[in-house]
Symmetry: C2
Subunit: 163 residues, 2 copies
Amino acid sequence: MATEIERKFLVLSDTWRAHVTRATRYRQGYLGPAETSSVRVRVSDTNAYLNIKGATVGVTRLEYEYPIPSADAHEMLDRLCRKPLIEKTRHLVDHAGHCWEIDVFEGDNAGLIVAEIELKAEDELFVRPDWLGKEVSDDTRYYNVSLVTQPYKTWGDAPTKSS
Amino acid sequence: MATEIERKFLVLSDTWRAHVTRATRYRQGYLGPAETSSVRVRVSDTNAYLNIKGATVGVTRLEYEYPIPSADAHEMLDRLCRKPLIEKTRHLVDHAGHCWEIDVFEGDNAGLIVAEIELKAEDELFVRPDWLGKEVSDDTRYYNVSLVTQPYKTWGDAPTKSS
């Protein structure tokens, strides 16, 4: 029912770390390969969700999210989701009226740091923080679902930091 | 969290129709191709559910089911699920203390009728109704998720009724 408008960027430096208001560790995985949609299972310290996204490339995607019991989620992650699972810590940073989500990945995706902003419209303006790097919204390699089949450690050529 | 134990059979005749206690029409579809699991969206007259099953072949499978808003379900069926959708009417028939679910398919799967029984254990005994045909629990062609990629009308060789 919801449409998600999200833009995704690399980061230039670690200066955002001084402004983190909350950090949450996620363990997540995907059910089956993605074709027209992805089905994600995500567990944080306190919650578990099933999330479905249309696989449209770009900034606007259909998205649905439902809370599920944590025990179900852990069982699905262990027994049904594709490996490797995605493990990351999400940091929230407020900047000029917008909330940035900065994901620091671990495991096979260690070294990758991505900043996301959710917008109400595709052309909504926002102030760029000085740590913000190159936009990668249209680069499917940075989709979390892609990081399962092609983890960051296998890329070789991609910069973590770029302008 | 739940484990589903289900046995599936063809039917020999229509005599079960005299004993139907309830009939419900379902519209359902699947998100993405199935590999280790299937994710099903199902809408009936009154409810909508998201259902996740482990793809183990046979009678025992991991299964999870969550209610979702009907509007979400119809939107996912129309915009995200693989086509053709599965459309069928499920008939409930009580027989000797067990409840049979008899699915009569429509559209590209018209002509296919399958009877299922849910059991508490793989070796649980049950009385065979006289209309019950060959068991097809281990035949993946009869999985609803398979009926999307290979609808019944494309089979050519398979009997609807067999002993």
